[in-house]
Symmetry: C2
């Protein structure tokens, strides 16, 4: 073989290897964000103390309602609260004292231990959109969500590098009976992804099913010893804790599983029209809810949640990405940190009907505030559209790309000798350029965040390729991701046991659609 032929052969082999590398699907997941930047603190000490004092006044003098829940009333009575019918008035300091047994951070385990997340401290864990009954994509428009859509979102979440968590109800699979869909949803998270996920909260019995399915996936003892679900418990604001949500939370607490205790507030409707008033109510509700959680099981992992929008006083519609929502996000973060609790807020929230500029302005406003405001768990980080009525396929990958911006922002600014680049500045000198210098060559690959989606092409190229907007590029990316999706391996015995559990449960109940 001549030297030339050998070289050719080597090049051929190299080319084939490079092609194979390009073809292979690399599913990379970034570690949850560990912030190396300070939190933005909008409230001064005086404002914090006013709000904290007022929240105690609300609990002591106005109180909160625990509805249809005699066991909860009994727990409160025993703890020293004043129970009058369903109204619970909590003496000053008691709720905060009860909350103090909750951990300041906890690990939520994934079935792939590399994807465990630590929720709390200076970390930020990102989870996708939760709850919409509709989906939208560029070609199909807006329609009721199905289980097929749900599975697609779980696959997209699995393949999204900057998403740490598979989430929960990524959309409502409306083609499955209400009383059975939690089984299919959980099975999808457990089998189509290996990231951590959320449990069902729509009935206490469904929370119990969630625990049992986790016992199949992780082992019975593991579930009792470790947190494997973080589930969303909304407060019926103002200051009402209903038996369904509290019942689900009781199941999770008893099984050592985490909850997010979240006031769900449209400011001006479910809370006062002022930021300070809303923060007062949020804090009172969280204090009462988390105190109750700790009454059920001291030490149970729980997150200080806030979900706040304001109302458009013209139309009555909820709004997103507004300055008042950011104020509340920042303020509630400070209140959570003073309680040493993990904090949930933010997300890619928007009111727009389409994944257009409005959606992106509103989303970025909220994503940036959540990073700066010290959020530890961000639900709705990608895919949210139309005030949470719609899960958007394109917006899912658009937002997921922007989550990379948050990762890089959180790194902060390094000042090692390499970072200082004094050699490069001397080498290049006045009037030179840095593209070819040694420092640039050594560092350019990791120096800058790189998009997987956005367009940076020259105008002429972009025009020749069809002058595509962001949504068009995103639709293409959704298609590519779904076409190249490969299911993460799972022990066949576990997969079969999950199948059997779901089949048996489904067979035990008639279908219910309301």
């Amino acid at each position: 073989m001549s030297e030339q032929a050998a070289r050719k052969r080597t090049r051929g082999g190299g080319g084939a290897a490079r092609r194979a590398e390009r073809t292979a699907v690399v599913i990379e997941t970034a570690k949850y964000i560990e912030r190396n930047i300070p939190n933005f603190e909008i409230l001064n000490e005086e404002a914090l103390e006013i709000i904290e004092t007022n929240a105690e006044t609300v609990l002591a003098e106005i109180g909160v309602n625990f509805v249809n829940n005699p066991a909860a009333l009994e727990r409160w009575r025993n703890a020293g609260a004043d129970v009058d019918g369903e109204r619970v008035r909590i003496p000053r300091g008691l709720a905060r004292q009860l909350c103090s047994t909750a951990p300041r951070e906890f690990t939520q385990h994934a079935r792939n231990p590399e994807k465990n997340v630590v929720i709390g401290g200076r970390n930020l864990v990102l989870a996708p959109v939760y709850g919409p009954p509709f989906v939208r994509d560029m070609n199909g428009g807006r329609r009721y969500a199905t289980m097929d859509d749900f599975r697609k979102f779980v696959k997209l979440g699995y393949m999204s590098k900057w998403l740490h968590h598979s989430g929960g109800t990524v959309c409502e699979p409306t083609d499955i009976p209400v009383n059975k869909r939690h089984l299919d949803m959980l099975q999808a998270h457990m089998t189509l992804s290996d990231k951590p996920f959320m449990g069902s909260v729509t009935e206490p019995s469904r929370a119990q099913d969630s625990v049992e399915m986790c016992e199949i996936l992780f082992g019975k003892q593991f579930v009792q010893d470790n947190t494997v679900m973080t589930s969303l418990i909304n407060v019926n604001s103002p200051m009402t804790f209903d038996d369904v949500m509290m019942g689900a939370m009781e199941v999770y607490a008893e099984n050592n599983q985490a909850c997010i205790l979240s006031p769900f507030i449209v400011g001006g409707a479910m809370a006062p029209v002022s930021v300070a008033g809303t923060l007062t109510q949020v804090l009172a509700e969280v204090l009462a809810g988390i105190a109750y959680n700790q009454l059920v099981r001291p030490g149970a992992p729980i997150i200080f949640g806030t979900f706040v929008t304001s109302i458009d006083m013209n139309s009555g519609a909820p709004t997103f990405g507004t300055p008042e929502a950011s104020h509340i996000l920042y303020g509630a973060g400070q209140l959570a940190r003073r309680m040493n609790l993990p904090y949930r807020s933010g997300g890619g929230l928007c009111g727009s009907k389409l994944p257009d500029a409005q959606a992106a302005y509103e989303t970025s406003n909220t994503l940036n505030a959540a990073l700066m405001g010290g959020v530890n768990f961000m639900l709705h980080a990608c895919g949210w559209l139309e005030g949470g009525l719609v899960s958007s396929f394109e917006k899912f990958v658009m937002d997921a790309d922007q989550l990379g911006v948050l990762h890089h922002l959180a790194r902060g600014v390094g000042v090692t000798e390499e970072d200082q680049a004094m050699g490069a500045i001397a080498e290049v000198g006045p009037g030179g350029h840095y593209l070819g210098c040694a420092h640039t060559q050594a560092n350019f690959k990791s120096a800058f965040w790189r998009t997987n989606l956005l367009d940076y092409k020259p105008f002429e190229t972009w025009e020749e390729e069809g002058a595509r907007d962001t949504v068009t590029l995103a639709a293409k990316r959704v298609e590519t991701l779904l076409n190249t999706y490969q299911q993460p391996e799972l022990d066949p015995g576990i997969a079969e046991a999950l199948d059997a559990y779901v089949a048996t449960k489904k067979a035990s109940m008639p279908d219910a659609f309301t």
Copy 2:
């Protein structure tokens, strides 16, 4: 007249008055932002000191070039710098000491004194896009900008509530000779708007023309005693100060007019690929440039400018709204504040070709960082598209609407008794709602930021009205604003004098198109 008829008549009159009110064009301009929120500080003391020390090393050991400017070299030599050819090496501490005569804030006067702006301190002044040779609108697409486009942008700026400043080259009027267009541009700002504006920097003689036109508008002595222009002086990074920009700056400084001394950096090309390295170079350049400005006239108003993007290492294109750009924006703000200088950075920067979701993500990332990072003067706050190649009519009004978000964010959180809303919380109680309560009724009008553009309508209404996206809504708003524009009053004698000045100047030169 019966009581009923009288009531009817009154109602009729009231209705007519209300109709008249709706028809009248109310041109409201918000006061510049006075922040009531802290600045976000990303660098710790150690990092700041490293960067400051390194910048002094760059000036002392590498130096900067002042090109084709013997007078500048002479000034530097007299000030104690080491001048070697065109290279100026500045002993440690000298540049910073020279910079200390610059004012920490200054007032830029508008011809309508209500629209004067104070640049510096905790304020933020917002000015529109600057420099694009192209314009884009939804119907006409992308095309070379004309003077007619320029006038339209000035009118839109005049009518934009959240914009405090008319800006400068809102687009390049390519249909006017290069050597004459500054005259038309200035005349447009002076006559079509009453907000403050920027002067020409493309030749020292054009800076002189700008001063002379201001002397007509404001009076000769007023211009010498007061700042009536803030003009953009870019550094030719790395570390090169060309004679055109320096010549223009000399004219402005000699006439007590403000400049922004801005390194113009695409990170990885004109500065090191690291944030700390870029900040070092930015600081060195600003120190040298502002020191030179103060050598020309101690006490001349001047702004610490930063314009930094990073490069996409795949395509070589500049990128916007990236985390590294935000890091630099935050860091440079800290460096500026340590010099007690007003700070310019940020804007509605984006790389997208269309005013789509990419444009809005990138824009919001930058707008938010600029507010949090303590920027005092924000050029490109609205209308910027395609990396600054294009002024977009729709994006102008889209971004201008988002600037309202910054105003409300900057207000911070009030904790007056009214803000605390304890009465409302007690009145409404658990399970109630706040829409009808007295506190909501008293406060809802001013409580929340309200968009002039974005869609909050119910889905069905939105669909019936054509399922319009943000750009479509924006195109409609552009049309409405331009149709209802009314020129602010101007003394006819001044208007005629400006006409005569422009005509005489134009007649004195042959047309030049390069």
